[in-house]
Symmetry: C2
Subunit: 238 residues, 2 copies
């Protein structure tokens, strides 16, 4: 069983509350979520000491597992990115924060730094999410299978696939791919307006995590309340 902090991953869908910048830290009071993700690339202040103190303060406020993500600029869902970090800078940031969190998310397509990030995270016994983003399309099932296999081969504890849904068929296909995929735990999300239902129904098809921003104003996202209520209703009916 894969764990993130003390949380066992895979039995049910856990809700990740995303903190997209330091000003949202004060909103970390929501006890209905299961995991917190620090989207460090959305913070104004990237000073390592500030980030480490921020994480330590969070630990006093909450016992939720913490996930560190410094999204690669080419794969950010926010356009434009807040910082234009070189891969070397990003690697350095990862090394500073990884010791203080429970897990880390690194992009499969981050060719330059994926290996050192993985090695560093594994050395610190942290849970490793390897993520794949595609804002243009949902690749065919064969390509999706190759992506999952490659991420697993590199040592992913959890594979995350987030791909743009052009139509409802793309959503159905990704959900069925997830259901039928033997390489669990897997997170799958259809991006875009049509895709937002995947954040709820992923829990039916075996997606182990679903993400919602603590800042509930973000376009196209579901609110945490909407997610929690709906997913709990699905599980209550089990």
């Amino acid at each position: 069983m894969i764990k993130l902090g003390n949380l066992e991953i895979g039995e049910k869908t856990h809700i990740v509350g995303v903190i997209p910048g330091e000003k949202f830290l004060k909103e970390v009071t929501n006890t209905t979520i299961d995991i917190l993700e620090l989207r460090i690339d959305r913070f104004d202040n990237l000073e390592p000491n500030f980030l480490i103190e921020t994480i330590k303060d969070l630990r006093k406020k909450t016992t939720l597992p913490l996930l560190a993500t410094i999204r690669r600029k080419e794969e950010t869902d926010f356009k434009p990115p807040k910082h234009i970090l070189s891969e070397k800078e990003r690697l350095n940031l990862f090394k500073q924060v990884i010791p203080f969190v429970d897990g880390v998310d690194i992009e499969l397509q981050a060719k330059e730094i994926i290996s050192p990030v993985i090695n560093f995270a594994k050395g610190k016994k942290k849970t490793l999410i390897i993520s794949y983003h595609n804002f243009k399309e949902t690749p065919g099932n064969e390509k999706l299978g190759i992506i999952v296999k490659e991420a697993k081969r590199k040592g992913a504890d959890i594979v995350k696939i987030a791909t743009y849904a052009k139509n409802i068929d793309d959503v159905a296909r990704l959900m069925c791919f997830t259901y039928q995929c033997s390489q669990k735990p897997l997170v799958s999300i259809s991006l875009g307006k049509i895709g937002s239902i995947s954040r709820i129904i992923g829990s039916v098809f075996g997606s182990c995590l679903t993400y919602a921003f603590l800042d509930e104003s973000k376009n196209g996202q579901l609110s945490i309340k909407e997610l929690v209520d709906t997913i709990n209703r699905i599980y209550e009916r089990r």
Copy 2:
């Protein structure tokens, strides 16, 4: 393209409002539904003349396509059944009402009368739904495939599968079966409390109809409003 009355079936998920008895006829004012199903086995009065007059009155009130269902007592979702009709009585009722409706639902497992009902409906150029109910389990995919094929072979315009979901996996499996089934149009519904989400997400996976009772008090069903709002939101996002 299969039609039910003037409605083309299969392009999107249509909502069937079920009339479970004569006292619910007055509730036929909801313009947000697409089709009306007369659950004749739930009517108190089974006099053919009364039923025919009822259907004629409905035609004055609404232009929605009408579907006649006289559910076989072994397959009714209401326990106990209101009437204990012999198959001969049921066949006779079918013959009386079929000329006045747009489509008819007959059970694949109604061995004694399925052929004459089909022949009669085809003779009257009515749309034919062949349905399969299983209140104990969701059969394996191979068996589901055989059911669909058999219904198609018998002349079904639309095949309807309604099977009990013991767990969320049964829901996911039926939805993926529906998505991957080449024999459309297909209706698929997971029965039971866990399964009720299938009435909404079936629209993502290609189920062409979803059913809700005009009597919104029925246990385990979603209300028409809940169905319509959610499904419309899915389609708006297309």
